[in-house]
């Protein structure tokens, strides 16, 4: 019944037209550039990375909101297309999304109970209104909303309550796949914790397959079974959270992890990355990270590292995958 989410060579390129003096030039922004991963049934994959690393584009590709440039996404063996036809709409029954901005994702003119009910109206027209109401009530209880909240309008609820409404609406059809795009980053920390607890309760009850996108490593550590680190549209490291988030191998993962303040670790041990991420329109040749990598070697500029599994770890870095490249580090001046 529950399926495996499988992603092969997924890419999404955006064409940008730049006005020149005489001719328009087309540049290509590779928002997502060749992702391959699997999420086992019932597993929760966390995706972390800076803004602009292609996390949100990945979320939209997974659910077929935007067409991919190449590659494919399958869920339980079924290909997920991006043409919003009847089949696509039917598939929504099995997969749902949770958004970053709960207020924006709710219709301001409809009471929240009716919004939670709407997926049932759309997908199960054979249900009686009473049966629907009962299910809405049950799912509201699951996410910790009391019944009287249902008669309110979105703007009358607090941020945490709204996010629970969104979760309830996504869960009311008991989806098999749930993609969460920064679901708690708009909430303050205490509310974040509550909402995350709701998440975990529900996962224990009906184990859906999930993808959880966040820039917040602590949140991902708490909720994910597997973590992928993205940089400029590619996965640079993927693996179990205790490995990736505690002993990261890729220099970029190491920098990300070291940026999380932790008790007992002096601030000077942080790895400060120089500069901004490169413009995704002009992705550097070779390893995309070489412009900022503190460990950069000559080979990194020429050769793009592949994501390779070795000894239980999966990393895309020459230094890790082929230690013979680990010659003399380039000095800073040359690197820039």
């Amino acid at each position: 019944m529950k399926g495996e989410l499988s992603v092969k060579n997924l890419a999404r390129h955006f064409k940008l037209r730049q006005r020149g003096t005489l001719f328009a030039r087309t540049k290509i922004l590779k928002a997502v550039d060749g992702l391959t991963f699997n999420v086992a049934p019932g597993e929760m994959l966390g995706i972390v990375g800076e803004s602009g690393s292609g996390k949100s584009t990945t979320a939209r590709l997974l659910l077929g909101h935007i067409p991919s440039t190449s590659g494919e996404v399958t869920f339980g063996g079924e290909k997920i297309g991006a043409v919003p036809n009847l089949a696509w709409r039917r598939m929504r029954r099995r997969m749902q999304m949770i958004y970053q901005d709960p207020l924006g994702a709710l219709d301001p003119r409809i009471t929240v109970a009716r919004q939670i009910e709407e997926p049932l109206v759309v997908h199960f027209p054979e249900l009686t209104p009473d049966a629907r109401k009962a299910r809405v009530r049950a799912v509201m209880g699951d996410v910790g909303l009391s019944f009287h909240h249902g008669e309110r309008f979105p703007h009358e609820l607090s941020g945490g309550q709204r996010q629970r409404v969104i979760i309830a609406r996504a869960l009311v059809m008991e989806p098999e796949l749930l993609v969460c795009d920064e679901p708690v980053s708009a909430l303050d920390v205490s509310v974040q914790a509550q909402v995350l607890n709701v998440f975990q309760d529900i996962r224990e009850r009906n184990s859906f397959t999930g993808v959880f996108i966040s820039h917040d490593l602590k949140v991902v550590r708490q909720i994910a079974d597997k973590v992928a680190v993205m940089y400029l549209g590619r996965i640079v490291e993927i693996g179990r959270p205790d490995e990736v988030l505690h002993q990261p191998l890729h220099p970029y993962s190491r920098a990300l992890v070291s940026a999380v303040p932790r008790k007992g670790r002096p601030a000077r041990e942080r790895i400060i990355l120089s500069g901004d991420p490169p413009n995704p329109v002009d992705v550097p040749s070779g390893c995309p990270f070489h412009t900022r990598c503190p460990e950069v070697r000559p080979v990194c500029r020429a050769l793009r590292p592949e994501l390779i599994s070795d000894a239980g770890r999966t990393v895309a870095c020459h230094l890790i995958n082929d230690p013979s490249f680990a010659g003399v580090p380039v000095t800073k001046g040359e690197a820039a």
Binding site: R89, D101, L103, A105, L106, D107, P108, R109, I110, V122
Partner: protein
């Protein structure tokens, strides 16, 4: 900054924010001019509904013995308070019937144009691409031609039954509604709630009619209200020129048109309906502006 101001306002509430009188608050929400306009429109709608019960005479009843009688107080008798026209028909009865006809035509036409406008606007927003381009081009073409000229040309060759006339007036102003509905639908599409509705698998019909339409309805209603004066003016102008509603059917513009031949000897025939046209369009405009300011100040 915000916190400082909050602190200020709580500490000095007594002195800075003197409480307004109830009358003052009321007048701010309901300016006297708006109340007058609303009252007038209520009266017009009342007349439109109950005109057959209110008219003292049949509006077509000819009385050759009582031709061109002036209104009461201007030398006329009280049995024809507003006087009679060139055929001895009672001006009051004709005016009431004309109000009924003109108001009904204006409201029907505006509903048609709103329906067309919303439909095309939604189609453009949903399909985008070439459908959008085609609809926008038609909108541009419509804007490029004075509607009255188109209406005259169409009426010339379609003849003018009441149905055709109302349908034609129903094309007035559709392009404004189309632009507004298209813009609002496109921006609603980028907003979360429409995307969320799509994500739960709702059909486009459901997204547009159950989610987007209720959310933009306030703006559409304002646009509709602002369209009505234009329709009234168009209807009365065409009827005035003798190419709108045809006798024995009567409308306000029609009365003015036939009354102008008697402008010298019996000005009351045209003055009464003229005044009603002016006051009604003025009232609708005032109401429209007031609604716009209250509901949607962004609409211009």
């Amino acid at each position: 900054m915000a916190i400082e101001q909050d602190g200020l306002s709580t500490s000095t509430e007594g002195s800075v924010f003197t409480e307004k009188g109830k009358l003052q608050t009321f007048l701010q929400a309901w300016p006297p001019l708006v109340i007058l306009a609303l009252a007038w429109l209520a009266l017009m709608i009342f007349i439109a509904i109950f005109a057959p019960l209110l008219t003292p005479y049949d509006f077509m009843a000819v009385d050759v013995l009582a031709r061109l009688k002036p209104p009461a107080f201007f030398g006329g008798a009280f049995n024809h308070i507003l006087g009679t026209d060139q055929l001895g028909r009672d001006v009051l009865s004709r005016t009431l019937t004309s109000i009924r006809v003109s108001i009904t035509v204006a409201i029907c036409a505006t509903m048609i144009s709103t329906a067309i406008g919303v439909m095309l606007g939604f189609l453009a927003a949903y399909f985008r691409g070439w459908v959008d381009q085609v609809i926008l081009t038609i909108v541009d073409a419509q804007l490029a031609m004075p509607f009255m000229i188109i209406a005259i040309a169409v009426l010339a060759f379609l003849g003018n039954s009441l149905t055709i006339f109302v349908m034609l007036l129903g094309l007035y102003g559709w392009e404004q509604v189309t632009r507004i509905a298209r813009g609002l639908a496109i921006s609603a599409n980028t907003q979360g709630y429409a995307a969320a509705a799509r994500e739960i698998g709702a059909s486009p019909w459901r997204i547009y009619l159950r989610h987007i339409l209720p959310n933009i309805s306030a703006t559409i209603v304002v646009a509709m209200t602002l369209n009505i004066p234009g329709v009234i003016l168009l209807e009365s102008s065409l009827s005035f020129l003798g190419i709108g509603l045809q006798p024995p059917q009567t409308s306000l513009g029609n009365m003015v048109g036939y009354g102008r031949d008697y402008i010298q000897s019996a000005p009351w025939i045209m003055l009464m309906p003229s005044a009603i046209i002016v006051i009604t369009t003025l009232s609708v405009s005032i109401m429209g502006d007031w609604l716009r300011d209250r509901i949607d100040p962004t609409l211009k």
